[in-house]
Symmetry: D3
Subunit: 72 residues, 6 copies
């Protein structure tokens, strides 16, 4: 009975505010299937929670994502 938490930046998608519902469905289906295939985990008791995080709340390299990308 796995629990998977996926955190991503809130961006992209059909209107620039994050992945579409269809993309989220594909993520949920894909990670559930992966756990079934690799570890024989039962999909019926696999939870997946996707969390979308504002760009200014995500840091990498000591910078917010926006500043990080501006310097790449």
């Amino acid at each position: 009975m796995p629990y998977v938490n996926i955190k991503i930046t809130r961006e992209g998608g059909p209107d620039g505010t994050g992945p579409s519902a269809d993309d989220k469905s594909r993520l949920i289906a894909g990670v559930t299937d992966l756990l079934h295939t690799v570890l024989d985990k039962n999909p019926a008791t696999t939870f997946v929670v996707i969390e979308e995080v504002e760009l200014e709340n995500w840091g990498v390299g000591g910078l917010t994502v926006e500043d990080y990308r501006a310097r790449q």
Copy 2:
């Protein structure tokens, strides 16, 4: 000094957008009391954080919650 994180789908409640403030108060009081009763944890240093998750961001059985319920 426990830390408890409760993730629930954002639904129900007085206006359909999630539990009422009163329900959240009851959850916080209840889980804090439980940790005090079972493990003698000090309520003064017990943190509870409730996170509400959009239905399309929660997956079970390889499906989003909405699709999962539609098939039940």
Copy 3:
């Protein structure tokens, strides 16, 4: 389908290395029941994960738990 994560310090219990299996059962039963009572969540799809954390890995007041208690 709630997901609850309970983090506690690894201490106490029958041999000083953390809560007994029976105490953990009581925590799991109690929090699942609370979510059913307050929010009508289905126990069958309520997950509870307990994590035990070494005292030197937990900080409060800018100190590890051990140092914090020594100064109380």
Copy 4:
């Protein structure tokens, strides 16, 4: 730059104490590839953290996993 946290019960695998290193590699590769395929996320900045949880620390249906399975 996604962050994925996978929590599973510590069981199974070559010696009954959890998935093999090879299975973990497959999980890491699989979920990283999924995020690349579905959301075009850069694998170089995708983190995956697997956490293995003792059976007595995981609850479902108001019971520890062991009690839950015994009643199925």
Copy 5:
């Protein structure tokens, strides 16, 4: 390659709805620098995710933050 998750209440800041983007930048820079200084972790692979939590979703002392403060 550390991953740091900072949860704070959503309050304060320039318009009372949480820390400014500049404050978040300072948090990200500060914690990344701390991990570099103390543990020699590479900033390039240090992730920091800040999560802001509504006051009614955060409990301490068995009360929501608002009720807790009202009683202090």
Copy 6:
């Protein structure tokens, strides 16, 4: 009342099995002080939890940390 979760790989330190207790104290003091300085958060109600993760349980670039480093 912030809650900070720091996940790092379990390595290095005095005996190669992770940071020393003193390093953990410095992390706890440093991040608590940072939150006090930047956001005026009260150290008395700031929690820091450090989690150490086995190298084979941490993935980046679609590889476990060990494989990732071997290819750098």
